[in-house]
Amino acid sequence: MAKATFRIWRGNADGAEFVDYDTEVSEGMVVLDAVHRIQAEQANDMAVRWNCKAGKCGSCSAEVNGQPKLMCMTRLNDLPLDEPVTVEPMRAFPLIKDLVADVSWNFKVKEKMKPFTPRPPDAEDGTWRMEQEDIDHVQEFRKCIECFLCQDVCHVLREHDLHDEFIGPRYFVYAASLEMHPIDTENRLEELKDSDGIGYCNITKCCTQVCPEHITITDNAIIPLKERVVDQFYDPIKKLFRVFSR
């Protein structure tokens, strides 16, 4: 069995640093396996958040060699093991301890958004009729596992720290899944323009690149929402229409 070195962020909000751990690695291992082995054998009290270990729950988000990744889906044979592998928590959020970041802000953002509001049922049994082709794009958004890697990589949050004015790519995807839901009746465009700060996004597509579910966040969610906002609030003909219809 080969050995590799993992340089892991240890500590809490009062102070933290990288600590090197050597551990044995074998075929097929992912970063989370190595972290677990270190935890079981050398650092029982190390904090790491994980659940499914199959890329389906979005708990084990971290930065591996500086890249936002799910630890459970990052294979060691895709990394250069002749140098230490750095593993650190998501940097766009406050640190709780070791590899665990405080992501509670995300949950608060979602609570403030207008919930799904369906039109009255189409059929007497209380159900709706929807064509598969009309829901394909919404199903793409609903693949989101809420790992928050898109939030982590977004410079508006990570570098400019605009958490109070900008909801981040995850919640634009969420907004898109509601706005484009065939039976939803709510309108969220005013919030998107004002409190949600969609204008801050300058379409660098970093979020799309890191999405482990391969959701085309920028092209399929954010840009169409930006277009709808423009149509509703900046279209001169519509603006005129609104003035006269008051």
Binding site: D45, G55, C57, K97, F116
Partner: protein
């Protein structure tokens, strides 16, 4: 009593998977104050892993389906050891529970005429599973979560309950800790719903995550509730076997539902070699008929790969033991072969099974549209659990309810795929409803403060224990957990015997003594080692219960197989359930109770449908 952060609720829900969320939503319908405690972040519970679908007799794809057929299928699958009233309620109510999710934003795959599409699954006579590709669980938990966060429920994420609190006979709340700082919390409540899921972490090879340590089973048992049929642990036939680090991760039954076949190293489709008597009439006798079934031919019978999970798992073990396994100790599951049958097969597979495609591509370097997977059994689900009243989901402890995987009764000796997602919706709702009713009809009771300091001291004991026990053995939490998992896998797995089970009980006793001395390093802040040490109590309790019940049932039925008792029923014993209860002296007691005779109208359904 020392002072602890205290929260007061009408109804407290422990666990935030599908059952817990559904219960919380229901309990919050009136103006009751509802608290929800969960070990992970919201939306990460194991429901998210469910792939294939949710079983409900909507009859959208085949109008011959009805609750009566679903009831009969569930009873047959459970080898007639299920609680018939639960199976009846489940079959009758699951269609409404599924439709209701659409009103909360869920988007299931559609039929041609715009309704909810349904797929075939093992043991279900008609296409019955509403689904979203192979990520149905994610869709369900997200719909419940996104609806639930607007119902005024107070959520305590990353909090663990270590003990229920009782005042006299009644449950009066729970005691636990929050993960971030390790601070203790008291949750006072008029009614408590347990929705904590399963016990997979008692085994070495499992599809379950760190959370599934039998907390609800153990909390209920120590509070005086009964556990029923704990010997029935489902080993899902298809878990990944290679590479070693992913061993146990689930491969959905949906692969077989879409036409995937099981073959051995000789290329033989071995499932045709052993079709149980109970299913001969319903099972295809040639590959072509099986293929037609998976493609929706209503006259065709299902392929043997879609027999019940207990049977498929045993057949796979047999192939491996007799030397016809795959290179890494499993068998082959092949969906790529369907390219012989359809021109656009790779695209079709990626569309129907996207997360399986993704999982094998990224974790095993295997393209499932081109080559077969290697699969073998993995500990997946426990049919046994907390005994509850069928209608209200209340346990023997007044005010204590249970729903979802930690509760028992619906699945008997073997659960059908898809019936767990419907179980947690139907009985999650009922538990929430009846817990709310209990909270309205009963006044709050004051907490019994005398026991709380004792529980708190016990919870901190791992920090005080020395790093080695008197014999110089390591007593780290991970060492003890790994030893328990090895023993359960080896001695209480798919094949069991008097000898292996007696040995398992002795090993568990030995590990329990070690766990008394378990040592945690560091401090109380987000300390995984300390948490693992505390989970050992629960794991040891459920492990003992499983082994004890398995020893008691001297027969091989459903998911429970005894090498020394291969016959389905013990001569003269009739049909019975095993019941576990904590005895007055603190030891684990077990007894049998005969299965109730079926109500006449339900018996008629069985007689008619089979």
């Amino acid at each position: 009593m020392a002072s602890y952060e205290t929260h007061e609720y009408d109804v407290l829900i422990i666990g935030a998977g599908g059952a817990g969320l559904r219960a919380a939503i229901e309990a919050a319908v009136g103006d009751l104050k509802v608290g929800l405690v969960c070990k992970s972040l919201l939306g990460k519970a194991h429901t998210v892993m469910a792939e294939g679908g949710v079983a409900a007799a909507l009859a959208n794809v085949d109008e011959r389906d009805s609750w009566r057929v679903h009831f009969a299928d569930t009873m047959r699958g459970g080898q007639y050891l299920s609680d018939a009233r639960m199976a009846e309620l489940h079959a009758q109510e699951s269609p409404d529970r599924v439709r209701e999710l659409e009103a909360w934003g869920a988007l299931f795959d559609r039929t041609q005429d715009g309704g909810i599409l349904q797929r075939n699954f093992g043991g279900h006579q008609y296409p019955r599973l509403a689904h979203v590709g192979d990520r149905t669980g994610l869709e369900m938990i997200r719909a419940l979560q996104d609806h639930g966060i607007h119902q005024g429920i107070e959520v305590h994420m990353e909090n663990t309950v270590v003990s229920l609190l009782k005042t006299g006979d009644r449950v009066s709340g729970a005691f636990g800790y929050e993960r971030e700082k390790g601070r203790f919390k008291i949750f006072a409540a008029k009614a408590v719903v347990l929705a904590t899921g399963g016990v997979g972490k008692a085994y070495k090879v499992t599809s379950n995550s760190w959370e599934y340590t039998g907390d609800g089973h153990s909390l209920a048992y120590h509070a005086g509730a009964e556990l029923i049929d704990m010997e029935f642990v489902q080993f899902h036939p298809t878990g990944m076997v290679w590479p070693p680090s992913v061993r146990g991760i689930l491969v959905t039954e949906g692969v077989r539902g879409e036409g995937g076949i099981l073959t051995n190293s000789e290329g033989n489709r071995f499932m045709f070699d052993d079709i149980p008597e109970l299913y001969v009439d319903q099972t295809a006798d040639n590959p072509e008929e099986g293929w037609l079934y998976t493609q929706g031919d209503r006259e065709a019978r299902r392929p043997p790969e879609l027999l019940t999970r207990d049977h498929v798992a045993r057949c796979i073990v047999r192939e491996v033991q007799e030397g016809r396994g795959s290179p890494h100790g499993g068998v082959f599951l092949d969906i790529a072969w369907i390219k012989e049958k359809m021109p656009n097969a790779p695209e079709h597979i990626r569309r129907k099974l996207p997360s399986m495609y993704h999982q094998f591509k990224e974790l095993a370097d295997i393209d499932i549209t081109q080559e077969p997977m290697e699969v073998g059994p993995t500990t997946h689900y426990i049919m046994g659990g907390i005994r509850v009243d069928a209608d209200s989901q209340m346990t023997a402890v007044p005010g204590l309810f249970a729903a979802g995987e930690c509760a028992a009764g619906l699945h008997g000796a073997n659960r059908l795929g898809g019936n767990s997602l419907s179980d947690l919706l139907v009985f999650g709702k009922r538990a929430g409803e009846y817990a709310a009713r209990f909270a309205i009809e009963n006044k709050a009771v004051s907490l019994d403060e005398s026991e709380i300091d004792t529980i708190a001291a016990h919870t901190l004991k791992p920090f005080e224990n020395p790093p080695e026990d008197g014999n110089g053995d390591k007593v780290g939490p991970y060492d003890i957990q790994a030893q328990l998992q090895d023993k359960m896998q080896e001695l209480v797995g798919i094949a069991r015997s008097q000898e292996s089970l007696a040995q398992a009980l002795a090993e568990i006793q030995n590990l329990r003594e070690k766990a008394e001395n378990v040592h945690a390093i560091g401090n109380r802040e987000y300390n995984a080692g300390w948490h693992t040490a505390l989970d050992l109590d629960c794991l040891l309790t459920v492990s003992e219960a499983i082994a004890l019940a398995a020893l008691e049932r001297r027969a091989s039925i459903g998911a429970h197989s005894r090498d020394d008792h291969p016959e389905k029923e013990e001569p003269g014993a009739g049909k019975y359930n095993t019941i576990i209860k904590k005895a007055d002296d603190g030891t684990m007691g077990i007894r049998r109770e005969p299965v109730d005779e079926l109500r006449a109208d339900l018996q008629e359904i069985i007689d008619e449908i089979g």
